[in-house]
């Protein structure tokens, strides 16, 4: 495949500091409005975790000039909309028919400029309740739902911003004070800490004019200082967590290169060749040949400050996590010693190239073109990274992938978590320390 894969755009920065990016794609009469605020759970502090995400909920409750639910006028105009918070950023998006572009810009700019006058204690309390339900539904009441919480807590020290998950601690959520909302908004929700991307049925100059008209009047603030923190694991940490599950599962996590850093793409390719699809080394061994496991997965969880490489496998009934782990270790050692085969590199690249192309199919939503332009702009400081992003994969070699496995997937610098059915801690890897998360 040598088809050119490009994502053309134009960018300007308004005097108040708001970055505006426009990408034209006139095939369907829709426009994606995508707004990133460079704030996430990494900007929280211990004792108040979960605040960035709770705040995202409040952004849908009304602003000064439209003091009602955010969904109503937009859904009535045919918009699809949502928002999400992760450790690094909070994003908000609408995909609107071209006829409703100004409405979406009006609504987004109103909550950026004029949120606080509409915010009441009552709305705050309701959304705190909704978020506690979200936590129960997606974490507490879901099998293996607490795994990432336990792993993150062990990978990162208590004062590291990745020590906690974005959903936050339930006690912290209950302890939130309404008064904290104001300073959080003033610190992080202003043009200089945001990036707006418009993609779709919009002429570029018109896009800039509209962005200036709706957002230009909002005063810029001070760009928050970026967050730095270090973390390392100096030994193999073994943990066990009991859960309401039928079958035990083992997780392994290692520190890995930050998003877009040297070695990040290699780690991604490594995850694929280890555990993506039947051809992958671990699937083939554990699930296909030996039938010891029901599944195996691996991925490079790329993030701004630092990443982690995560591997997981669920034991087939009657099979032991110890044996599964020793086979996993054997296969990792093999890649670290010999590197991947040429055919594995070819296959990995073919998949990466196809996925870059698939990402160009849609203008909006999570992962669509508008979201990607903002990701590059906010996390790289420049939206012009699509081709370079792909080039990282094209540049990877057998040697660079092998070096990556050697450097990062060390057995004596990882967290290994066994999740076992309640009352059956004997099924965990030997020497595992009981961990409790709630």
């Amino acid at each position: 495949m040598s088809t050119a894969i490009t994502l053309p755009y134009a960018k300007r920065t308004l005097p108040n500091g708001l970055d505006v990016i426009v990408h034209e794609d006139r095939r369907v009469p829709i426009v994606a409005v995508n707004l990133w605020y460079h704030v996430g759970s990494k900007n929280e502090r211990p004792g108040r975790t979960g605040f960035a995400h709770l705040f995202e909920h409040l952004m849908f409750e009304g602003s000064e000039h439209y003091n009602g639910g955010y969904f109503l006028p937009l859904q009535q105009a045919g918009a699809l909309l949502n928002g999400s918070t992760n450790s690094d950023r909070t994003n908000y998006w609408e995909v609107v028919p071209t006829s409703a572009l100004e409405l979406a810009l009006w609504m987004e700019s109103d909550r950026m400029g004029y949120l606080l006058p509409a915010l009441t204690r009552e709305r705050f309390e309701t959304q705190r309740g909704v978020v506690l339900n979200e936590r129960r539904q997606n974490y507490e009441n879901r099998p293996y739902g607490m795994a990432l919480m336990a792993l993150s807590a062990a990978l990162f020290p208590p004062d590291h911003p990745y020590h906690w998950l974005t959903i936050g601690d339930a006690e912290d959520l209950r302890a939130m004070e309404f008064e904290d909302v104001r300073s959080f908004f003033r610190t992080y929700y202003h043009p200089a800490n945001a990036s707006l991307a418009l993609a779709g049925d919009i002429e570029t100059e018109r896009g800039f004019e509209l962005a200036e008209a709706y957002f230009g009047e909002i005063p810029g603030g001070e760009k928050p200082a970026s967050v730095h923190a270090d973390a390392s694991v100096a030994r193999e940490v073994r943990l066990v967590l009991e859960d309401r599950v039928e079958l035990p599962r083992v997780y392994m996590a290692w520190h890995a290169p930050a998003m877009f850093a040297e070695g990040d793409a290699e780690a991604d390719l490594l995850a694929d060749l280890l555990a993506n699809g039947k051809t992958s080394r671990l699937y083939r061994t554990l699930v296909y040949d030996k039938r010891m496991a029901l599944d195996v997965s691996a991925y490079q969880h790329s993030r701004e400050i630092s990443s982690f490489f995560l591997l997981a496998s669920t034991a087939a009934p009657g099979q032991s996590l110890t044996e599964i782990t020793s086979l996993i270790d054997e296969r990792i050692q093999q890649v670290a010693d010999e590197g991947p085969l040429d055919e594995e590199m070819e296959r990995g690249l073919a998949q990466a190239e196809a996925h870059f192309m698939y990402r160009l199919q849609t203008v909006g939503g999570f992962g669509g073109k508008s979201d990607q332009l903002n990701a590059y702009n906010v996390l790289r400081g420049d939206p012009d990274f699509f081709a370079d992003d792909l080039a990282r994969y094209r540049k990877a070699t057998r040697d660079s992938v092998r070096a990556n496995a050697r450097k990062y997937l060390a057995f004596d610098r990882r967290v290994v978590l066994s999740i076992v059915p309640r009352g059956q801690t004997a099924l965990a890897l030997p020497g595992s320390e009981t961990v409790s998360v709630s």
Binding site: I30, Q75, Q76, P97, L103, T126, V131, A213, G277
Partner: protein, 460 residues
């Protein structure tokens, strides 16, 4: 110079964009395979959708899970290619392969880049028409599905779906999940799968939809080269009868059932009853009615249970459309302490829409607008277009369907909403299912006024 934005009112909307669905070209290959092609220029991507009549509804009693098991064997080897080789071949063209076993049909989807169109089609054809079905692969796949079933016991939404279908369809081929049941899967033999494949994977029972950045003629050539020689099994076999033709027993009184899940942080709820077929002429009115009741964020039920009471992260209502009669249901997961009140609120909202508190003009216009104004975005990606054309084939809808959708929805009146709510919603025969902590909810559930509470076997 830019004028200041007027924040005293929301900006007016521009005129609604005109929506044109691309032309669908119809072809029939010599072997009887129906082919539909749609040109989708732009990104060099092509999607194949093969839709084969007979989904989970074709499972015979005692063989629940057979259709899904058969579908699963499709990527487990063909000709000289082993299961591993198939996976490798798909990866080398960056292929995204997916199988969906629906109530009335099984749908295989392959997306790849247009330079790989011919290779992708050939591979898909070999997989579908000549799966090897080796014993060892069959045993492995069946065991994986049995283990998966075991894991689903830990997953409250899956437990709820499964129990709810059985309550809705006590003796009907729609009354199970595609994955089937433990007992049935254990009794399925490789020969059953071979026979089911031979009886259902036949060119004249299938529709192939090809959508991509090529011309109709090129798309047809790709399809014909790959699938033109497919003959299907020539022996005469028992064709499964259509599940849509089975008569369903319709419940006549309300029921309450609980699947105990001690210590659960939330209660998973389902509430509803059998209601409508996809081809009902009331379809547009039912969509509008559903949007008002619980089909969108600003619906009555979500505003009450999430935004006013904070009982849940979200609640949705919807129709599970099938060729035969399908259910209307409320779906949510609520804080344990809010279980009974959530059920009671949902029943009240269903009942109110039937007349006590009919749809207002504003609710009607919000529902219509949200269904119609954003309609074009449903057809942005090749795969969306291909699956949409698949729906036309599945439900015998005309090619003009998508362009008629917007005017038909906009023609729905408030009186229509009340009428379809009266006809298709009936709290008097609703089935309420709770997957949750029995002890913590029992007293309040008993206060709801159901004649009795059926306690089903625990989830896990």
């Amino acid at each position: 110079m830019i004028t200041r934005v007027d924040r005293s009112r929301l900006p007016a909307l521009g005129p609604d964009p005109v929506f044109r669905f691309p032309d669908i070209a119809h072809h029939t290959l010599g072997n009887g395979l129906k082919v539909r092609t749609v040109e989708h220029p732009g990104v060099p991507v092509i999607t194949f959708v093969m839709q084969i009549d007979g989904g989970l509804g074709a499972d015979s009693a005692g063989r629940e899970g057979l259709a899904a098991m058969t579908a699963d064997m499709v990527d487990e080897g063909t000709g000289s290619l082993s299961a591993i080789d198939v996976s490798d071949a798909l990866a080398r063209i960056g292929g995204e392969y997916d199988v969906e076993v629906g109530a009335d049909a099984t749908t295989f989807t392959l997306t790849t880049l247009t330079p790989f169109a011919g290779r992708g089609a050939k591979l898909l054809s070999e997989m579908l028409t000549a799966p090897t079905m080796r014993d060892a692969d069959f045993e492995r796949v069946r065991q994986l599905r049995l283990d998966r079933l075991r894991q689903l016991k830990d997953l409250p939404p899956a437990v709820a779906e499964r129990a709810f279908l059985r309550l809705l369809y006590p003796s009907h081929p729609y009354g199970h999940l595609a994955i089937g049941t433990d007992v049935a899967l254990r009794s399925v033999a490789r020969e059953d799968v071979v026979r089911f494949h031979a009886a259902t994977f036949l060119p004249w029972r299938a529709t192939l939809i090809v959508v991509g950045a090529l011309s109709h003629a090129e798309l047809l050539t790709v399809a014909d080269h790959a699938f033109g020689n497919w003959t299907g099994e020539e022996r005469v076999l028992d064709l499964p009868s259509s599940a849509a033709d089975f008569v369903a027993d319709i419940a006549t009184s309300p029921q309450l059932a609980v699947v105990p899940r001690e210590g659960a942080a939330q209660s998973e709820l389902r509430l509803g009853h059998l209601s409508a077929r996809r081809n009902t002429p009331d379809y547009p009115a039912l969509l509008v009615m559903n949007a008002i009741l619980g089909g969108q964020f600003v619906s009555r039920l979500n505003m009450k249970l999430r935004e006013q009471k904070a009982f849940t992260y979200g609640v949705r209502t919807g129709f599970d459309w099938r060729r035969g009669i399908g259910p209307f249901s409320v779906q949510t997961s609520v804080h344990t302490a809010a279980t009974a009140e959530s059920i009671s609120d949902a029943l009240t909202e269903m009942s109110d829409l039937r007349g006590g508190r009919p749809a207002t003009a504003e609710e009607l216009s919000i529902a219509q607008a949200s269904l119609t104004r954003g309609y074009p975005r449903n057809f942005e990606i090749a795969q969306q277009v291909a699956r949409s054309v698949g729906q036309l084939a599945l439900f015998d809808l005309p090619d003009t369907y998508f362009e008629e959708f917007v005017p038909k929805v906009n023609a729905v009146t408030a009186a229509d909403v009340t009428r379809v709510a009266q006809t298709y919603l009936d709290p008097g025969r609703a089935i309420a299912l709770v997957v949750g902590d029995r002890k913590a909810t029992e007293d309040s559930l008993n206060g709801l006024g159901f004649a009795e509470m059926h306690v089903l076997p625990p989830a896990g």
